[in-house]
């Protein structure tokens, strides 16, 4: 059937619809850059969603655990062999995503007789200064978005990932006003928790167009914290260390969450 171009387009559209529906329940992930590094944070009940990829690169993902696992291992494998044959400094997120992951994901997506990757990923790479941080969102079809900004816009020191476009956009507009790279670590954790709450609320309500009230966000955050765990990691900007990733425990972060 897909010898006909129209059928192919239709098949792709169906596939897109199917994947979007599968991803729509994915719990949001926020990545916020500040002077001390980059914090990646989400709330969850079951599986791990934030991972170390290489010395300065971390990943958060939603989707099918099997697909996330294959993409995660491929990313680690590529970064590790590159770092081994050349140098850890030569491992770059930009090349990893643009030249390796994206083409592979695109071709899996467009070969309609094979299975696509049911995953949406957020990568962060910590730079020497907050301006040099890189955030990339890689979609199931290989599409890549950078820092939530276009060429014409100022670069934002955060990026988010969520089940739906609407949820993501509301999180972005929330962080645009709430987050500054000059913020302290505890302020960053708070903003990340609030951004997660905004995104998660939107997924629950379905058709929200505007940011919820602050009080509503705070209330929602406390409700969710009571029943879910905080999962987070930090890429530290500390130049004295080669490996910058460290996972942050729920216990470590709870203190900041209750204000």
């Amino acid at each position: 059937m897909i010898e006909e171009p129209y059928r192919w387009v239709e098949a792709i559209a169906n596939r897109r619809e199917y994947i979007e529906a599968q991803l729509a329940l994915g719990s949001p992930i926020a990545a916020l850059g500040f002077r001390g590094g980059i914090v990646l944070l989400t709330l969850g009940k079951t599986r791990q969603k934030i991972f170390e990829i290489y010395d300065r690169i971390a990943m958060g993902a939603i989707g099918h655990p099997g697909d996330i696992e294959r993409l995660r291992l491929a990313a680690i494998e590529l970064a590790s062999t590159e770092g081994f044959t050349r140098s850890a400094v030569d491992v770059s997120l930009r090349r990893l995503a643009h030249y390796s992951l994206s083409p592979a994901m695109k071709s899996a997506f467009e070969q309609v007789y094979g299975a696509p990757y049911l995953a949406r990923m957020l990568f962060a790479e910590v730079g020497e200064r907050p301006e040099e941080d890189l955030f990339l969102r890689v979609e199931y079809d290989g599409e890549i978005a950078t820092n939530g900004a276009t060429l014409g816009q100022a670069r934002q020191d955060f990026a988010v990932l969520s089940g739906t476009r609407q949820s993501r956009e509301l999180m972005e507009s929330f962080l645009k006003t709430e987050h500054s790279p000059d913020a302290s670590f505890d302020a960053v954790v708070k903003s990340a928790l609030d951004a997660w709450s905004v995104g998660h609320m939107t997924l629950q309500i379905g058709d929200a167009k505007e940011l919820p009230e602050r009080a509503a966000v705070a209330k929602y955050r406390q409700e969710q914290l009571a029943e879910s765990g905080i999962e987070a990691g930090i890429l530290e900007r500390d130049r004295s260390k080669a490996i910058r990733y460290r996972s942050l425990s729920d216990k470590e972060l709870r203190a900041f969450a209750n204000d």
């Binding site: 791990q48 993409l71 291992l73 680690i76 494998e77 062999t81 081994f84 083409p103 592979a104 899996a108």
Partner: protein, 276 residues
């Protein structure tokens, strides 16, 4: 269609590979050398070419963890190739590999090892156990044994690390060229100057002012410097302490907090007070 740049086939699973196997699959690491195929005694051209070799390293447990020290000389036959060689290498936050033997092979091994531990942590989402790390080095030595038999690439390392399980304690291992691992209770030394060093450490441990494990940091440093200087006295391949050039051995300490590299100034001070 062109092959995808990433091996993302549907059955792909990186979980089964260890890092050296991954490197071999990608053609980035030489296969393990065959032991029998090319070994012919007398085939090594001793006179025309000799590999660069690094010598004398020592390690012992003291009150603050494990001290690992190495002289700085690298030789080829009776030529000094380099007098600032680094034979005490950090593998991860708590592990040190010190090398005697051919640096070309040893540094590559250290590099493979360093990446192996990180690769394991990242893919398996947990730290490799100390037993796993000790075994990983053993496997690399075993893979290299064919080269060692051909007279090139002999490496005899010491591995020092800090274990948190089952109980927090410093662990010290030494190896032979075939990959057998031996856990040292108190001290280890390998390389051409090691007989002298072992003599000194044995003496200090049994009849010295106090056993090695009870030494404070400064006392431990002075014994390490004296031992290397003694080794250099009779072994031309060991650099010891270069008094004229002010080149001191490299000393690192593994403890619960991680690895500390002693600043040269500190070593120089102890040397002046206790050794020179």
């Amino acid at each position: 269609m062109e092959p995808s740049p990433v091996a993302l086939d549907q059955n792909f699973s990186g979980a089964v590979d260890d890092f050296p196997a991954l490197l071999r699959r990608k053609g980035l690491l030489a296969p393990a050398a065959s032991i029998t195929a090319t070994h012919q005694p007398g085939n090594v051209h001793q006179t025309s070419w000799q590999p660069t070799e690094a010598t004398t390293i020592l390690a012992f447990k003291f009150s603050g963890g494990v001290l690992v020290a190495g002289d700085r000389r690298a030789t080829a036959g009776n030529t000094v190739v380099y007098d600032r060689a680094d034979k005490v290498l950090e593998i991860d936050r708590h592990s040190i590999m010190a090398i005697a033997g051919v640096p070309a092979t040893a540094w590559e091994m250290a590099r493979v090892l360093e990446h192996s531990f990180q690769y394991f942590r990242r893919t398996q989402l947990q730290e490799m156990s100390v037993d796993g790390k000790v075994r990983a080095l053993s496997k690399l030595l075993r893979d290299n044994f064919g080269f060692a038999m051909q007279g090139v690439g002999v490496v005899v390392p010491i591995f020092a690390t800090y274990d948190s399980y089952p109980k927090p304690e410093a662990r010290l291992y030494f190896y032979d060229a075939m990959g057998a691992q031996f856990e040292a209770a108190d001290y280890a030394a390998t390389g051409s100057g090691s007989p002298a060093v072992r003599g000194i450490l044995y003496y200090e441990n049994n009849w010295g002012a106090k056993p090695l494990q009870k030494l404070h940091e400064d006392e431990a440093i002075s014994i390490a410097l004296r031992a290397l200087d003694t080794a250099a006295e009779s072994d031309t391949s060991t650099g010891g302490v270069d008094r004229g050039g002010k080149i001191y051995p490299l000393i690192k300490i593994v403890s619960r907090e991680g690895i500390t590299t002693l600043p040269e100034q500190k070593i120089a001070t102890v040397f002046k007070e206790k050794v020179a």
